[in-house]
Point group: C2
Amino acid sequence: MANKEVTIKDVAKLAECSPTTVSRVINNSDHPVSKDTAEKVEAAIEKLNFSPNRIAQGLKSDKSNIIGVIVHDICDSYFAQMVKGIEEFISGHEYIVNIYNTSRSVEKELYAVSMLKANRADAVVFAGGALMDKEYEKKMYSIVEQLKGQGTVLLGVTPHPFDINNISLGNKKAAAIIADYLVENGHRKIAFIDGPEKLYTSYLRREGLKESLLKHDLDLEDELIFPGDFSFEGGRKAALKLLDKIDEITAVVGANDATALGLIWELNNQGIKVPSDISVVGIDDLPEAKYSYPPLTTISLPIHQLGTNIGKYLLESLTSDQITDLINIEMQLIKRKSVKKLG
Amino acid sequence: MANKEVTIKDVAKLAECSPTTVSRVINNSDHPVSKDTAEKVEAAIEKLNFSPNRIAQGLKSDKSNIIGVIVHDICDSYFAQMVKGIEEFISGHEYIVNIYNTSRSVEKELYAVSMLKANRADAVVFAGGALMDKEYEKKMYSIVEQLKGQGTVLLGVTPHPFDINNISLGNKKAAAIIADYLVENGHRKIAFIDGPEKLYTSYLRREGLKESLLKHDLDLEDELIFPGDFSFEGGRKAALKLLDKIDEITAVVGANDATALGLIWELNNQGIKVPSDISVVGIDDLPEAKYSYPPLTTISLPIHQLGTNIGKYLLESLTSDQITDLINIEMQLIKRKSVKKLG
DNA sequence: AATTTGATGGAAAACATTTTCCAAAGTCAA
DNA sequence: TTGACTTTGGAAAATGTTTTCCATCAAATT
């Protein structure tokens, strides 16, 4: 309950001038204001502790200064880093970053988008669900429909190409690098712990692995693809299921670091040695990846940097009308201790 | 660049009525509208895909629907969970949650507050720095000054009592529980890895431990307090420094889980067995705490629940004018495997 | 002296809503 | 029929800015 808001009129009264003039000094407009009055206005602003009402400004300028960020889970290290990257760039430039946590629920995604629309968000970053599912895709269309025409970035969001900046995170490539590395090290029988069912990212990583293995005349056998869900727990459970086939497999790749980490943990727990008994590799390079036993070999996707890139991109496309470059991050194989060279 | 915004006037024109009437059906006001016209309005809204401009609404109602959340680091599991808790409750109720990542920089804290003021935030949750430092405290006063009178929650923010909801997280108590438990298990020579210097939370946890140990006629010796910074890395470094005194110490408590985890990791690395050679305990109960070797005994501070509680509290204090209860979370000692019973 | 120019400032409209106040018309009781 | 009330609806003011247009005055140019 702000005790009667201080307005530009109050400032004008105190500075003995018109609101127009106050506005001019606030926005140091082209229209000249004499040194004298400008100072009086400044003094009045200072004295009244006035700050212009962004809402009123927004109404006039048809800008909300809101940037929406829709993610699956802020607690997930992956998204957290991205959000932080975006925030770093955006918040410092008078924008509001407005986050939504959707837990991969389409309803929540739709809700978030409708909120952002109602609030006339200037831009939105959608790092949402991306399920490969007819029903979902239909709803997705409706989401993207709402988003269209706004300054908007979609993050690897569906298999379908929308005519909006849809950034690929190089998931396939990441998996391919791993495949090559493993084969190079003599591995022939490779298992995969999948990500969440139907998730586009899971698909990409799985297919990337499969395709690349195929190039080496190797097969990613169906019975060596174990279900997972991108979580540590999922990795643990997968380890248990994998126990049967442990003798035939020489390496296993987790769909992400969290599952690879869970995998290693449970393997240790079961008395199976990584990498001497079996090699493990992940994708993401989470901060904790280097602290597993043994430290995890993985692919680094500099997701924080992706965030700052997105922030920068959005800022530029909102402020200057210059068309900016695509956003690119370079991935890298981080060789640690969880892969053994065979033969 | 929204292609000419659809306004309430457009709807009115299509529905052949006045903007007033449209507004009435949107907000289903007390003022009666005939079934007939209401339907025409609904149809027009549907057809034009109209959603009322929240900014204009905000200007009229002097409400922004913005809730600011200022935290040190969104990537920190601790804060991430809290933010998620708040978001869960708040976003679903037509509020915008606007986050700021301050990295414990007073300048960024001040900036965040000024942004929130300019945007007329309806409430703010400040989980900021809280340094025990004269200079900082002065600036802190100015921050709190700006915040006063708004629906605001301060999170264990400084040693000084401000007349604003300032929630204590029970840091002292958490440390006290640990002290009792350790003593109960025969430990007499206890070390502490500190949190960031000058941070109020560090102070509380350290003092809690010290005071509680004193009750058992035990001393937390100054040379057994090692510097740390709440991070895994900090824990590791502390472990290295602790090596000298490893023979005299039987237990070490980390200022938080991250440092305890780093501690355990480096101890393992150095061939020192936890808990047979030395016991370790943390505070926070991070999700990963149960996956260290051995699983970490710690205090659970249900921080996610704290977040939802805060969300609920804010929502109530913004919508109903009923005074709501204080926010409380219960902490709990989680006994896992990192503490050995002596004697 | 008349005109132009430049500097400075204000009045009022506009932005998309909600709200207050008034009006018309129908219904009911007397 | 008159008056009162109810139902329904609109006109206009108001919210805090910015912007467009106009006005004044002094200095400079003709």
